[in-house]
Each structure stands twice: as structure tokens, then as C-alpha cells.
């Protein structure tokens, strides 16, 4: 599977709240950020947490502004996110 995103791409994190372990922090759900770099491929924890086979998929370092995440602050927060958690920000109609 080719990487769907690359550095500079604007992405939006999923808003779903799964009933199992996920590495997508709750504070980043639905937030829009920028891909900083590709981080390699790793099995999706959301699947291995349920004892399911997990093929490696691309992981990205995604930078969010504190204002986007928390409504205030001048710093940024960079989170490693699996491709399944992300979609292109441009396709997002309402937030």
C-alpha cells in the first residue's frame, strides 16, 4: 500500500470513539493538522488490541496547533498517527 499522505499535507483526524484501544488521542479527534514526515509502517494497534491480524500501514508525524486542539496556546503538538486515523482535510465539509 502506497503512502496516502506526505509532508505538508493537511489532514483531519477521525472523530470516532472506538470501544477498544487506539493510539489516536481523544484530544486530537476531529482536529486538522499538517503531516511533518513519514514515520515508517507499523501494525494498526486498534486491530492487534482485539487479537486481529494487523498488516503494517503508514504512520505519520502530524503537527497540530494548540489552538486547534485546546482552543488556546501558542505551541504545537506533534502526534504519530496511523493512516487509518486520517483523511484529507480538504474533503471535510462541516466540522
Amino acid at each position: 500500500m502506497a503512502e496516502r499522505f506526505g509532508p505538508g499535507d493537511r489532514v483531519q483526524a477521525s472523530r470516532t470513539d472506538p470501544p477498544y484501544h487506539t493510539r489516536l488521542p481523544r484530544y486530537a479527534r476531529g482536529a486538522i493538522g499538517t503531516v511533518m514526515e513519514r514515520q515508517g509502517r507499523y501494525p494498526l494497534p486498534d486491530r492487534s488490541a482485539r487479537s486481529l491480524p494487523a498488516e503494517p500501514e503508514p504512520v505519520y508525524a502530524v503537527r497540530f496547533t494548540a489552538r486547534e486542539l485546546f482552543g488556546a496556546g501558542d505551541h504545537t503538538v506533534t502526534v504519530d498517527l496511523w493512516e487509518s486515523y486520517l483523511r484529507p482535510a480538504a474533503l471535510e465539509g462541516n466540522r
Partner: protein
């Protein structure tokens, strides 16, 4: 909040207490819990993400009231029962 999301970022708490020269473990049982978890994952009884999921399945009030290795111990006992390694009765009996 339906369940704990154990990846940080929960707000509304005081600053994390900094401990000078903090030891790796504060009691011997913590080291045993640490070793037990490494051994069980190493032997493939469960994987790291199943372990993290088991921590997050603790009732939120219990998660918030437990220390770091108390959460580990609870998760390990949950998984040992679910994987059929030990029964609840065997664990209760020591």
C-alpha cells in the same frame, strides 16, 4: 467519555509530582509485575496492544484511583483469565 483513552492529554489535573532521584520501582511487587508482563508478552500469551486495551477497560473510577503498576497488575489478571491461563479462583487462592 465512554472509556479511558490511556495515551495522555487528559485535562483538569494538578501538575505531575516530580520525585528527586526516583527509583525504578517503589516496592518489590512492582518489579515482579513489570517482569511478569514482559515474560507474558514475550511468550505470546497476549500482545502489547491487548495489554493496553485491558488497562483502558478498567472502570474509569478505578483507573483514576490506581497507581501505575496497580493498573498493570489489574490488566495482567484480566488477560490471564480471558486467555484461559488462570481462573479467577486460582488467582484469588494465591
Amino acid at each position: 467519555m465512554a472509556r479511558i483513552n490511556d495515551v495522555g492529554g487528559m485535562q483538569g489535573f494538578p501538575p505531575v509530582a516530580q520525585e528527586v532521584d526516583e527509583p525504578p520501582f517503589h516496592a518489590d511487587w512492582e518489579a515482579h509485575v513489570f517482569a511478569l508482563n514482559r515474560a507474558l508478552i514475550g511468550r505470546g500469551v497476549y500482545n502489547l496492544d491487548e495489554f493496553r486495551d485491558a488497562i483502558e477497560r478498567l472502570p474509569p473510577q478505578e483507573y483514576l484511583a490506581s497507581s501505575y503498576y496497580e493498573k498493570w497488575f489489574r490488566a495482567i489478571t484480566t488477560l490471564l483469565a480471558e486467555k484461559g491461563v488462570l481462573t479467577e479462583e486460582e488467582m484469588a487462592g494465591g
